[in-house]
Symmetry: C2
Subunit: 167 residues, 2 copies
Amino acid sequence: MEKMDLSKFALADLLLTAVKSEISSQEIYARLALQVKNAFLQERMNFLAMEEGKHRQALENIFHQRFPDREIIVPEHPVVPLPEIHISDEQVPLSEIIAQAMKSEQAAHDFYLQLAELFNDDSEKKNLLLYFSMMEMGHYKLLDLEKNNLERLEEFSQEQELIHLGP
Amino acid sequence: MEKMDLSKFALADLLLTAVKSEISSQEIYARLALQVKNAFLQERMNFLAMEEGKHRQALENIFHQRFPDREIIVPEHPVVPLPEIHISDEQVPLSEIIAQAMKSEQAAHDFYLQLAELFNDDSEKKNLLLYFSMMEMGHYKLLDLEKNNLERLEEFSQEQELIHLGP
């Protein structure tokens, strides 16, 4: 994601953007965990889903602290469109889904880094968002290693696992 | 770890070296999880401990398959001395323990990469060991990000968390 000025958006909308992104990532990883054959990768997907779920909770807490009178309504179209994983109803190679998830993690990393700048008056929340940014980068790196491993296996003509995320 | 020729060692001893290393890492991460204040980091430590435990199980399975008549006796002094975390009975800054854990993960990565070469007759086990190598590199990268985060906090004169791993 290019460096963008988030200060033109309402803070509530930005927090809801992040909540939506975490819900979407959590769902994808949970679905992947049900489908991948590799038991180690399955555990890793469950772990990523768990972390995204905790991010969501923390973001909702921040929202309630800042906007105690407002309800959380997850927007269909968030103010900042973050890349999500395209859910097709066809089978897709696992490495392709991982590549999409990496883009989404990179964007989340960038988004939190910029969102943190809007919390200069609250160092605790600012540090939490910077920590989330770092965590998403950790997801990116784990996924990158998994993708490299799949590509290595493919070189030795091992069949790519196909995943069906869609309905 | 420098590139070393593992073929001069007995395979059983090399597998026991790896088992010992996984036990030691699992124990460290489990102890860290009990001590760190950050709930996200705590979950990550538990996750790393869980993965090391699964590696240990898988290595023990390989040992039993290759040496069905032998018992697993974890050596006090493995044939290849892998760096372990120094357990002092004093309090140590968290970032220092993480730095030591990173060295240990790097060494485990290198070790599995070389151990895999001894399984050229068994592509399933070879791929599993290469996968473990990749997983340890994932741990290294996650720890590196955590260490950077602690150093960033320190720049803003936040006190370093002290950890007591020893008896």
